[in-house]
Assembly symmetry: C2
Amino acid sequence: MQAQLIALDWGTSSLRAYKLGPAGVVLEQRSLAFGIMHLPSEPRDIAGVRCSDGFELAFDAACGDWLDAQPGLAVIACGMVGSAQGWSEAAYRNTPVDVASLGQALHTVRSVRGVDVHIVPGVIEQVGLPNVMRGEETQVLGVLQDLGAEVLIGLPGSHSKWVEVVDGCITHFDTFMTGELFAVLSKHSILGRTQKVSEQFQGAAFDRGVQVARSADGQRGVLSTLFSARTLGLTAELTPEQQPDYLSGLLIGHELAGLPTGARDLPIILVGAAPLCARYQRALALCGFARVSLAQEATERGLWQLALAAGLTQPSLEA
Amino acid sequence: MQAQLIALDWGTSSLRAYKLGPAGVVLEQRSLAFGIMHLPSEPRDIAGVRCSDGFELAFDAACGDWLDAQPGLAVIACGMVGSAQGWSEAAYRNTPVDVASLGQALHTVRSVRGVDVHIVPGVIEQVGLPNVMRGEETQVLGVLQDLGAEVLIGLPGSHSKWVEVVDGCITHFDTFMTGELFAVLSKHSILGRTQKVSEQFQGAAFDRGVQVARSADGQRGVLSTLFSARTLGLTAELTPEQQPDYLSGLLIGHELAGLPTGARDLPIILVGAAPLCARYQRALALCGFARVSLAQEATERGLWQLALAAGLTQPSLEA
């Protein structure tokens, strides 16, 4: 099947490349460790030019052979590749944004082989506390087909995003530093000293953490409940193996308690790694959120939609 | 002036020794780096016995000469020296506790020179989420003279404690991991990467952090506001030099938002290092707490009161 688009999901720690066919179907995909903070450095010839630029080298490794085989293919990319530390900075676009407006705002960088890479800009919200995202906007736009007028899309991770979408438009979003906080507390704080990592998910401990976050104690805030991850160990109510999942449930519970009022009435779509989404799904159920579903292939679908809006490719007639 | 008591404030990272005279007046004091996690290890003769135990060596370094000069002196100690990782474990006492009940519950360890060291037990609260402290109970009991029936005592630090006292009795307390969270976020998270430490206190940035914590945004919780310490840098609203104090104000503001309802109506006493107490005093004023004062010499006064209650020393007639 003839390829129609190369789509790159290029973040801080990894680079995923998709060769997409008619209607955006995935023909081939690759995952490389060449995130923007881990670029290759060994000089190499690309299209007859000696090249030592890490972005060029990573780009060539990801899809040079696809371009050799089909030179006219369009290329679109999202994620931190468009940040100030990326290949070329794609300035943030203000909310509200939708597929059409973002697709028309792609930022172009020309690679040494003469191919233009079209980079999706990140999104900034400047109403109230400023908030930014790069990459998540593409995932959000990738899951919007067949959804109702108003949805809330959760993207759990180091910096979880919760994105409100109205009529296909990203209108508002929040960032919760839940994943990174879990990591630094487990690795560098007193809480980590009594934790023992278990192979097995400790469901009861996780649930207890969620419940504490939504209890009267939890309303005093996470700074106040955190220490319980230690004291419940001291009082033998949590084993060392249970403490990591208790802390995970506690932090996720506090995150969910911070969702906008009205979130409970919206359909919620989770986008992200399956094990993490499973934790959020469990916590959402405990907190009484009833309409939760999971989305797949959000990034590649979003990149396809944006490439369509930009005129980089055509909707397939036979789709 | 004749000494009446040796009082040790023996924590994780430091050991402070006080030689107290009549009425608990401080005759001499020392600060050593020999916290329970940093004990000396070089073997030495103590009272004619070859000794390699770190607690014995630190104890001798702190007050061996005082005991040589006045062998009958009583010794009292508080802090992590009584923890499971300390010299000898002094089991936690349940709330409520006061000077009399805690003074009668001292735990004794006999040093190699034949002197008994009387260790103040820590305090545990097991109503709701468990909470523990070791050392802070002594500071609290040291500042209770001349106070009203109900006070709230704040002890800012790595693990800030807020202790409610009714009629001289510790009835309830909370722990906020504010100081440790500030440290691990600054050192190990993405927030630290754009921070630049400034010699000068950035008051406006600190105040802004406090205000965000008590704003409508702040009510969504600290997990949600944390990222603003980065985004306000991205939007050039905070310089790199302002970001650390913004984060400090933000976290302290969230801590204060988590104080018990009714805290606003109580007199508040702050106990701790002067620069940190100054930050809390500033934040408390911004948050509308009117009756705030600072206490001095809380530990040595508390140890004196507990030694009196234990009968280890006598109140001075001429005091």
